[in-house]
Amino acid sequence: MSTTATAPRPAGARPGQERSYLGVETTIRSWLATTDHKRIGLLFLIATAAALALGGSLALAMRLELLTPEPLFMDDLAYNRLFTLHGVIMVWLFMIPVIPASFGNFLLPLMIGARDVAFPRLNLASVYVYLAGAAVVLGGILASGADTGWTFYPPYSTTTPTAVVPVLLGVFILGVSSTMTGINFIVTTHTLRTRGMHWSRLPLFVWTLYGTSIIIVLATPVLGISLLLVAADHAFGLGMFDPARGGDPILFQHIFWFYSHPAVYIMILPAMGVITEVVTTFARKNLFSYGAMVVATLGIAFIGFLTWGHHMFTAGMSTFDVAAFGALSMFVAIFSAIKVFNWVATLYGGAIAVSVPLLYLFGFLFLFSVGGMTGVAQASTSLDVHWHDTYFIVAHFHFIMVGGTMMAYLAALHYWFPKMFGRLYSERWATAAAALVIGGFILTFSPQFWLGNAGMPRRYHTYPAEYQTLHVISTVGSWAITGGLVLTLVYLIVALRRGRPAGPNPWGSAAFEWQTPSPPPRENYITPPVIDRGPYDYHPPQQEHEDHG
């Protein structure tokens, strides 16, 4: 891949020992006060992994509690707090920041040939605002923990005696952090592309970060408004959503989902970007249709704003609204279908190496497809009446969020680990962990489709006895996922210390971020690269290969 983007390569014998971003400074202060986008990405990687561990532990406790139809080791209130905090932590502390703030921060400047993001100090501030938000949320948990579900529906959320206000304010602060990241990414993408990096040559991961950032910047203020109003309702009796004072509880649902539905795309779009990068690298070929993928990305980002009402089909919304939101949801589905088709079609004619990131890609493809198609079924409105607020919904969004975003997160972790640290992990252990995670996922969440069909409502601490078998299967699956994730943590830490050196480009990828040493130097590229091809172009004019597929 000797394009001009590979300026540092000709001296390629350098074993990565020149001053990589990891080695320039090693003091604690140099990490905590860094403005290097790569180090900030790693800080977010650690923070979000901690959030995953915390949110996952809560989920484990919840699944354990659901082993029996009657309470096992906690009371109703403790259970309600548990699923609320699981939701809040997983959505706002893990799922929303995980890919943009860690991998996005690390890779965006590398992919567009920039030295850093546009506002490095704002970037550093976003870390501490995130930590402050996390601290306030966790403080609320220690105070007494909210029991409203992560959706905070009033009037329950405005009357519950639990500590809703700190949790709301914490989430508000987290929104500020993600807005900082979003602004940074938009400005960076517009202003810091290197010479030759036309919009038509942007890697898809950059496009998805761009789409996500637009959603974040436009939608997060609305979340802030709704959360502050609930907090004011709860703390001062404002009455905005309290019918006893002339307020309207349905209004809250509209403005909450106006943010929180696009938030689904904040979580899934970067995941789609990761998958695109992985499929092209491991098939070593161009994307089936770059244009269709870009259009689908922007289409999801735009249409995603117009589908929030499909969370409210049974809430007492007008019948016309139900029709409109159902039909608009189908458009999002078609854009997602375009993406799935493109990923599969990209494999055609490739030179495919089945490596760990690709295993997670297969997991993603299957689980996201099932999750997406169940979404289509819900958007046909009449079926959703039965499924709404049952375990069917729980299964559906875990297929999208865990089957989609988590799979992409793990794919990204394994794909870019050598880029970040210059070392390789054990393929064998990683394959075993992938099998555990994907198998465990299917075991955990598939039974929940049947539970939902049978009419098991979500957020139920106790349940009728005939649902128990499916709950037990689901709980066992959660142990398999945990085993896989703990295993992953162990072998990645081992690889940090003892992993084989990766070399600059262990996967033989044409993507731009691999055209600089791994780990990259502090300034990313020694000389600013000049781009003369697309990101997935394995056939520069001078070296035509015959295929032998």
Binding site: D147, I250, A377, V385, D389
Partner: protein
């Protein structure tokens, strides 16, 4: 979609046809397919007129989904095998496809999605629009009880009586937070929102009892906010509406042929049984357990004759007078530690039923000398009786491990009269509820 050919065709017929049309060669196949899919998907029985229609759309979509997921899986597998990397430095072939290849595919998929939506939304509108002769029932929810009121005739708590074969429109509201009225067997659900009225309708096809679940998080009692729909024959429904206690539905009636005819002249054992049925019918057992487990209200186990401390600090003996007062004017004197949420049953419960319930509570509270250690149901075995919500069925002594045989798909939460008469399970004095 060749994989889906036959079932999809059958489904299309099923969607188009009115189920009560005269015999048609397709009918038997449609019925068999319906039952196959329903069981495979774990759906509850189809107890309303709309349920089979909605299910047929469900089957159609699930079949298409399995086919699409299968195609994705097969194509991916074939590609991965066919185009596996054979040499470490091999790179893929550059494939440049004109966009015209994709357009028909996406158009076709979009047409399919819109077909789903058109069928689904037509069904949704039919869920929204009740026939003109629908019977109105006013449903009001509060933490954590469902109350049902009729334009004429009695009201009920925890049990919705409706006639079979007649459309019923529910007009829902809530007195506190948002709840959601969900009857899985009818495939209906609608939120009960404070400050507004929402509506949904259904027509039950046959007498029976079907669980009602609250589907919107409403606080700590959310998972115990269950009720039931009792579908009566039109005749039995009219009887009930004119003030005669409702006969239990047919299956339960077999066990107690003339339950409900409380005369006050029955032998005491009979009164206990009738009291248990009345307590179930009026929803008492949704909040008051009979096995000592905690609930919204004090457990009835060993309650009669016990000393209880009131919120005022006063100590009283629980006797017939106090129980009667609590039923009619529940907020007059409340046992310390319990919220003031019990509704009044004044005018809703007959004097004979009151007497029968008191006899039932007496039976649950044998004299202290007779109390023995508490019996436990096997874990995971007989949870139907293990908690307040399902407390109407103490597990039969001898440890039967499942609920009532052949019960509806979802356990009847409160007051199935099919179980054996309550075993008077004495509890050890240490478990006596002194809350």
């Amino acid at each position: 979609m060749s994989i889906t050919g036959a079932p999809a065709a059958a489904m299309a017929v099923a969607l188009a046809q009115d189920p009560v049309q005269p015999r048609h060669p397709w009918d038997a196949l449609v019925a068999a397919l319906n039952e196959f899919y329903r069981r495979a998907l774990g759906l509850p029985e189809q107890a309303s007129t709309i349920a089979p229609t909605i299910d047929h759309l469900h089957y159609f979509q699930i079949t298409v989904m399995f086919a699409v997921a299968g195609v994705i899986g097969i194509v991916t597998t074939v590609f991965v095998f066919r185009y596996r990397r054979r040499a470490p430095d091999q790179i893929g072939r550059r494939v440049d496809v004109p966009h015209t290849v994709e357009v028909p595919l996406y158009t076709g998929l979009f047409a399919l999605f819109m077909l789903f939506w058109i069928i689904g939304f037509r069904q949704f509108t039919s869920l929204e629009l009740p026939p003109g002769d629908a019977l109105d029932v006013y449903v009001s929810a509060k933490q954590w009880v469902w109350k049902f009121a009729y334009a004429e005739g009695p009201t009920s708590v925890g049990v919705l009586y409706v006639p079979a074969g007649r459309p019923v429109r529910l007009r829902l509201t809530s007195r506190d937070v948002i709840h959601s009225f969900f009857v899985p067997a009818f495939r209906i659900k609608r939120d009960a929102v404070p400050g507004m009225y929402t509506a949904i309708w259904f027509e039950a096809v046959r007498p029976g009892r079907y669980p009602v679940l609250c589907a919107e998080l409403c606080g700590v009692g959310h998972s115990r906010m269950r009720a039931e729909v009792v579908v009566l024959s039109p005749q039995a429904f009219d009887d009930w509406r004119q003030g005669r206690p409702a006969l239990p539905p047919p299956d339960a009636a077999a066990a107690t042929p003339d339950a409900g005819r409380v005369s006050g002249l029955e032998p005491v054992d009979r009164l206990v049984e009738l009291g248990r049925a009345a307590a179930a019918r009026h929803g008492c057992l949704g909040c008051h357990s009979v096995d000592g487990s905690p609930g919204q209200g004090p457990t009835w186990l060993n309650l009669f004759g016990a000393r209880e401390t009131m919120q005022t600090g006063e100590v009283i003996y629980v006797n017939a007078a106090y129980i009667t007062q609590s039923m009619m004017d529940p907020e007059a004197e409340i046992v310390a530690g319990f919220p003031p949420i019990m509704p009044s049953f004044q005018g809703r419960i007959t004097p004979a039923e009151t007497a029968a319930i008191i006899e039932y509570m007496k039976a649950l509270s044998p004299a202290p000398g007779l109390r023995r250690g508490r019996e436990y149901a096997p874990v995971g075995g007989a949870p139907a009786g293990a908690a307040g919500a399902a407390g109407a069925q103490p597990p039969p002594a001898g440890g039967a491990t499942t609920g009532a045989p052949g019960a509806a798909n979802v356990q009847v939460p409160a007051g199935s009269t099919r179980a054996a008469p309550p075993q008077h399970r004495p509890a050890d004095p240490g478990h006596e509820e002194e809350r």
